[in-house]
């Protein structure tokens, strides 16, 4: 027993010692930490976003690095959140300890809530690429910034866009049924939509929620949503559930003017038209979107596909954009001090966003991008096209979108 106890203590000491050691940035490097889910269920998304950020770093370095820092080059260090909040926190802390002057991330709202606390306590700026929850920036944090619109502004803008585009096409929406995923994301978008919709003369006649896990058949929920005989069915959710819903709307022959996603993780994904087939035809989606009308964004997407062999979705473009925001901040501050970088980011104005926004990227007091806005996409001939507002149009809208989205044979 005595020997064993000694052995145990010995092993403990060796184990802890083994865990020490880490990365040291070179003199002419500026480290940016990227926290995304690189393993686990969301690994595909996380890797793509990290690659988006890496492409931005490569592009900026190729263009001469950070000029105001004498051409110092950027280095992107990866952190794996594994999709969980505590792993995200550990990785964020590691990246900061290893000299990261800024963080980007993280795709999930709960992980971001945690990482933003790390950023705040270490006084290092965090630029959120994707994470929608309003409450993240309601904590009064001074070091967190968000490029994309938050949940409530997407709900609001989604309602306005729906009212305007239906009016412009001669069939104003009066009633909608709202299907959304359970949880903070779906609920907050819905609540904001309902509030604005009332002012636009749209009545939410039915709100149907579905569970975030083990959701394998949408028929019951879609039938319930259609039972109220709405003009439009609105959907807020992620990819797999939105796919099930589109298929159920088609198979139930729902007679609606449109299937309309808001902040929907499926409807404007480039894989959606192929996966959904006829069920996806003419589906509308109000969401933040990469600037399809912008040549620079097109070029980035083309090079991304060439380099990584997959399509660059909007989330990866946001990661790219987040690196650009930090690089611009470094350029303005001319310093590797995270506090000075934070101040520079807060005062920043980026006139050529890679997202389809109504104006330059600039952050308000809370850290939200003042000009973040949604664009309406539609699946036309198996492709996701921008259809509204007119200035961002890549194809003409079809509205009403036939008997249910795609139900016309």
């Amino acid at each position: 027993m005595k020997k064993l106890s000694l052995a145990v203590v010995g092993v403990l000491i060796v184990l802890t010692a083994a865990a020490c050691g880490g990365y040291e940035p070179a003199e002419d490097e500026v480290v940016i930490g990227s926290v995304h889910p690189l393993t686990g269920a969301l690994a595909g998304q996380g890797e793509m976003m990290h690659e988006g950020a890496q492409l931005a770093v490569d592009d900026l370095n190729e263009a001469g690095g950070i000029e105001s820092l004498g051409g110092d080059s950027l280095v992107l260090r990866a952190g794996d959140s594994k999709g969980t909040a505590d792993a995200g926190q550990i990785e964020a802390q590691r990246l900061v300890s290893e000299g990261a002057v800024a963080l980007i991330g993280t795709y999930q709202s709960d992980v971001t809530a945690n990482v933003s606390a790390v950023a705040e306590r270490n006084r290092v700026p965090l630029v959120i690429d994707v994470a929608v929850d309003d409450v993240i920036l309601e904590q009064g944090y001074e070091h967190t910034f968000r490029i994309q619109p938050n949940a409530s502004s997407m709900g609001r803008d989604g309602a306005i866009a729906l009212a305007e585009l239906s009016k412009a096409n001669g069939k104003p929406v009066r009633t909608v049924s709202y299907l959304h995923i359970e949880g903070a994301f779906g609920q907050s978008v819905h609540d904001a939509f309902e509030k604005e919709a009332a002012d636009q003369g749209i009545d939410v006649v039915s709100e149907v929620t579905y569970p975030a896990t083990n959701f394998t058949d949408a028929t019951t929920q879609v039938r319930e949503a259609l039972a109220a005989d709405p003009d439009v069915v609105v959907v807020t959710g992620y990819y797999p559930d939105s796919l099930l819903i589109a298929q159920a709307v088609r198979s139930l022959g729902g007679d609606v003017d449109a299937l309309y996603g808001i902040a929907n993780g499926g409807f404007d994904d480039s894989a959606f038209p192929a996966d959904s087939g006829p069920a996806g035809a003419d589906v509308l989606s109000a969401n933040y979107h990469y600037a399809a009308t912008d040549e620079r964004a097109q070029d980035i997407r083309a090079r991304f596909e060439q380099k990584y062999g997959r399509t660059m979705e909007t989330s990866a473009m946001l990661a790219y954009q987040a690196v650009v925001v930090i690089a611009q901040g470094l350029e303005e501050s001319g310093s590797k001090d995270p506090e000075e970088l934070r101040d520079a980011i807060a005062d920043l104005e980026i006139d050529d966003p890679l997202l389809e926004f109504g104006g330059p990227i600039a952050f308000d007091e809370a850290g939200e991008n003042e000009n973040a806005s949604v664009t309406v996409m539609q699946i036309r001939d198996g492709k996701v096209e921008q259809v509204f507002p007119d200035e961002f149009k890549t194809a003409d809208i079809v509205y009403p979108a036939g008997r249910a989205a795609g139900a016309k044979e």
Binding site: L15, T16, A85, V118, E120
Partner: protein, 348 residues
């Protein structure tokens, strides 16, 4: 007659052969261990300290779980319920009412103990045993998860953010990031948990609990109040797990339903104990010290692998594979866990 019954008792108490030397030794080992671990914050950098703190949280949970499932023989698959109660009691009282986390920790532990006792009473009253007992605890934890996701007062799915203060505060259990106190507090809790375990195992109730675990009928026939002994064990187990939850909230500054009540949390309480050795004092600690840093350690190796492993560079997800392989190997070759098996070997 009276002399006959009294004399052996006095003799037994004085007999050095019957003195419990293993308890004394365990206390001594604990003392040394805590003293050694206490200097770690001076040796570790900020990032390694975050891993160390998480490891301590795992260890506290596993020590708590081990009381009920290892010594009590009631396999719990729902310790997330008690971890979550601790985490949420802390978050709710702090955020909504400004109550100090120290008080919230105690309140959470009491609520957890009460909830655990009630759940265990219901399960035992209706004679659920083995896998059925485990499934019932799992179901209760899921009920808590769903309830929290739908209660407005608990912010539903949004969870709670602990407000960040500009200055260090003992009352609010908040210091600047990387402060050694964030290590010493869970270490203290763990030490108390282990102290309690050693004491419990050698106490009358603890001996009864192990007797009930090994043979309920025999124990009952000797006059042991089976239900009482079991409920006491459960209450202690749940209270300790709850304290780990409260500290989690304080350390991570955010808790949502998944962080508190998710089924992954229950697994986190079980795995270290299984790897280290169920029903042993040091097993859960040994297990936590392996499982806690495992994924970070593997990730570190893969980030800049030594020459002979260079083909593994940049691979992600390998920690999960190693973790799984480790579990399988231990179950196959060390069914009593690493510590449990080694102890038996040294003894024989």
């Amino acid at each position: 007659m009276t002399t006959l019954t009294e004399r052996p008792t006095t003799i037994a108490a004085d007999d050095p052969r019957l003195k419990d030397s293993s308890a004394t030794r365990s206390y001594a080992v604990l003392g040394v261990l805590v003293a050694v671990l206490a200097v770690l914050p001076f040796l570790l950098d900020d990032q390694t300290e975050t891993v160390a703190v998480r490891t301590l949280i795992f260890a506290i949970m596993a020590v708590g779980w081990n009381l009920m499932s290892g010594y009590g023989g009631m396999f719990s698959f729902g310790h997330a319920a008690f971890f979550g109660i601790g985490a949420y009691t802390d978050a709710y009282l702090l955020v909504q009412h400004g109550v100090s986390p120290w008080i919230a920790m105690v309140v959470g532990a009491l609520i957890s103990a009460a909830a655990g006792t009630l759940i265990a009473f219901l399960c035992l009253r209706y004679k659920l045993a083995g896998p059925y007992f485990a499934l019932a605890t799992f179901a209760f934890a899921q009920v808590f998860l769903l309830a929290v996701q739908n209660i407005d007062a608990l912010n539903r799915t949004e969870g709670f953010n602990v407000p960040i203060l500009s200055e260090d505060s003992w009352t609010m259990m908040q210091w600047k990031a990387g402060s050694p106190l964030y290590f010493w507090i869970p270490l203290g809790i763990l030490a108390l948990g282990l102290l309690g375990t050693i004491w419990f195992v050698h106490s009358r109730t603890g001996q009864y609990a192990q007797a009930v675990r090994d043979d309920e009928t025999a124990a009952a026939s000797l006059g042991i109040n089976v239900m009482r002994v079991r409920l006491v064990t459960v209450a202690a187990s749940c209270a300790l797990t709850s304290v780990a939850g409260s500290f989690y909230t304080q350390y991570y500054f955010f808790v949502g339903p998944e962080q508190g009540f998710g089924s992954a949390v229950s697994v986190n309480a079980i795995v270290p104990a299984v790897i280290g050795g169920i029903g042993t004092i040091w097993g859960p600690l040994v297990g936590a010290l392996i499982v806690g840093p495992l994924s970070e350690w593997i990730a570190d190796v893969l980030r800049e692998p030594p020459g002979f492993l260079s083909f593994l560079e940049g691979l992600s997800g390998l920690d999960v594979a190693v973790y799984a392989a480790l579990l399988i190997l231990i179950v196959l070759f060390m069914p009593k866990g690493i510590y449990g098996t080694l102890r038996d070997r040294f003894r024989s």
